[in-house]
């Protein structure tokens, strides 16, 4: 039996072992890679971003899935919630499945941990579980009046009395619904809400379901789509490059204008910026410990903390005309001297991304290896097939 005949008869358990290793090793040892963003993801990002800081605009996230499809869908939900919390976009959430309710809580809690200023009922509102049998009347009813249709939120509070409802009545204001699903996504919204009320609809789906959604995407019924883990990875990247980006002189605390309105941090979407080399340092998924500044940026950064300037000067190093601070080299005493706010700000300048905000990109590394491995399997299987076929023909 030669090599190709042997691999033709390979026991499937060997394949399983190779698949497991191909997935587990890249998950354990992340490496930096770039996920090129696609128009369906960019369109959704831009639509949500256009609501930034507006009191009369909100988005609705429909969690139409349970825990089984979370590895693909959860990173999308986290990325969109993070985008909204970074850029002051009002968010409503609901689910048609009883098993979707804890997914919403888990998603909101996971993101909210990093945003202590985000308040339930003010910045976001969870409608909770609405039985699937009420999906059609709920979708239609919200087109006329949200507070009259969904009377209370998941915490039992009257919707109409919540501060988040200021300026929000129906789909004219809550003008985008994004449904996450592992099977049929967005059907209620494009059948009932889009034709009747002009609601913008987008979906986040598992990779195997993405091909089914393309007709709706091309016809414009869906304004955007996140397809599988790749869609989530693209969205994570966009949030890092634009929504969560801070200039060295940007204050870390929430800023308000004279009228008490929150000033929107981050920066708007730009395709040119996305292709710029400078964005590469914002999307590294390996652990980043060094904050790098140009001399002017360093001055701008330390100007926010004039009384701490001496501490920063003591820990900085110069390298190729750049000012660098390694946060792992900062002692506890220096951290205390710096104060929690300046310390947090310095850490932010390292551009280190928290695990929960880069999980899709780490997953994409594993998917890269798994895809290459499957392609190799297909090619090897076909070579073996043709060799054995030609031998049979010779005989």
């Amino acid at each position: 039996m030669n090599f190709f005949e042997r691999i033709q008869a390979l026991d499937r358990r060997w394949i399983y072992i190779v698949v497991a290793l191909a997935i587990v090793i890249p998950l354990m040892i992340p490496y930096n890679s770039d996920n090129v963003t696609t128009p369906p993801t960019e369109n959704l990002y831009q639509m949500i971003d256009s609501f930034a800081g507006r009191e009369d605009r909100a988005i609705l996230l429909s969690f139409y899935h349970d825990a089984s499809t979370m590895p693909e869908l959860f990173p999308m939900e986290i990325a969109i919630l993070r985008h909204c919390f970074e850029r002051n976009v009002k968010v409503f959430t609901l689910t048609w499945l009883p098993s979707g309710a804890p997914v919403i809580d888990f998603a909101i809690n996971s993101v909210k941990e990093e945003y202590p200023n985000i308040v339930s009922g003010v910045d976001y509102c969870n409608f909770g579980y609405i039985p699937g049998t009420l999906a059609m009347p709920t979708v239609i009813g919200m087109g006329d009046n949200i507070a009259a249709t969904v009377k209370t939120d998941a915490e039992g509070r009257k919707i109409e009395s919540l501060p988040i409802m200021k300026g929000i009545n129906n789909y004219s204001e809550m003008n985008l619904a994004v449904e996450f699903s592992g099977s049929v996504a967005g059907s209620y919204w494009i059948v009932y809400a889009r034709p009747k009320f002009g609601l913008n609809v987008a979906v986040g789906v598992t990779a195997v379901m993405a091909a089914d959604q393309y007709p709706y995407l091309q016809s414009g019924q869906f304004i955007g789509m996140l397809a599988g883990l790749k869609g989530a990875a693209e969205y994570e990247k966009l949030v890092d490059v634009f929504g969560a980006y801070r200039e060295p002189d940007s204050p870390i605390t929430v800023q308000t204008d004279e009228d008490g309105n929150k000033i929107v941090p981050g920066r708007p979407f730009s395709r040119e910026l996305l292709q710029d080399e400078s964005t590469k340092e914002l999307i590294n998924i390996t652990t980043q410990n060094i904050a790098t500044f140009s001399p002017a940026d360093y001055e701008a950064f330390t100007a926010k903390y004039p009384e701490k300037k001496a501490v920063f000067d003591a820990i900085k190093t110069m390298d190729n005309g750049k000012v660098k601070i390694d946060v792992t080299q900062v002692s506890k005493a220096q951290q205390d001297e710096m104060g929690p706010l300046a310390w947090k700000d310095l850490n932010r300048m390292t551009r280190n991304i928290l695990y929960k905000f880069k999980v899709a990109r780490i997953g994409m590394n594993a998917q890269s290896v798994a895809h290459i491995m499957i392609i190799v399997f297909i090619i090897l299987g076909n070579i073996g097939y043709f060799i054995s076929k030609s031998r049979q023909a010779k005989k």
Binding site: A20, D105, T133, K230, H371
Partner: protein
């Protein structure tokens, strides 16, 4: 009579919803939909959930009673159902309680594991069965390899044109076939619905006619 009454119920019920979709009249939009249908729909939803719980409990208790194959697993249903319900009612469903702990540490990893098994079967099936046996199979195989490569960062490193080619495959040949299927399914459902509303299609009544 046994067939006429159910047929009439289906026809009248179906026609009401046709009128609701196309007529803006107060009787159908307000009196029927807002005043009659909505309160009833809201009242029915909890009963549907209750029916599900009762039905599932009866099925599993019957399985245990009859010692049907794999009857031992039914105890896991009752254990999971009782513990989750009590955890939710007593400790609440928010972070910090037993319910959320079970969701994060039991349901989420177990459900995700079941879903991730798909990767193993796909790899094995790709290796064992994905063969270029004919021209059509070869086209499918090449398209699959291009789309798979374009989906991942490594593929983009091989060629920057791969995402464009992949997008074309998804936007043109894939879309043409998907749209064809969708149109067929749509027209088929309209035809079947009309046949049911007009009483031509009666197989749903059972027994054949």
């Amino acid at each position: 009579m046994k067939k006429t009454v159910p047929l009439l119920i289906v026809m009248i019920g179906g026609l009401i919803w046709v009128f609701w979709a196309f007529s803006p009249h107060k009787i159908i939009q307000d009196d029927f939909y807002n005043q009659f249908y909505l309160p009833w729909a809201r009242a029915m939803a909890p009963f549907a959930a209750l029916l599900g719980v009762i039905s599932l409990s009866m099925m599993h208790s019957a399985k245990i009673r009859r010692k049907a194959p794999k009857w031992q697993y039914s105890f896991f249903f009752f254990a999971g159902f009782v513990v989750t319900t009590l955890a939710g009612f007593i400790g609440g469903t928010q972070k910090g309680g037993l319910f959320m702990w079970m969701f994060e540490n039991m349901q989420m990893p177990m459900s995700s594991t079941m879903f991730s098994l798909l990767a193993f079967y796909m790899a094995s099936a790709a290796y064992k069965a994905f063969r270029a046996r004919s021209l059509e199979a070869t086209v499918l195989l090449v398209a699959a390899i291009v789309v798979m490569l374009a989906q991942v960062p490594l593929g983009v490193k091989i060629s920057r044109h791969l995402p464009d080619i992949s997008q074309w495959i998804l936007d043109v040949p894939n879309l043409a076939s998907k749209r064809g299927i969708a149109l067929g399914v749509g027209l088929g459902s309209v035809a079947t619905t009309l046949k049911i509303l007009l009483g031509i299609e009666r197989s749903y009544l059972g027994g054949g006619d």
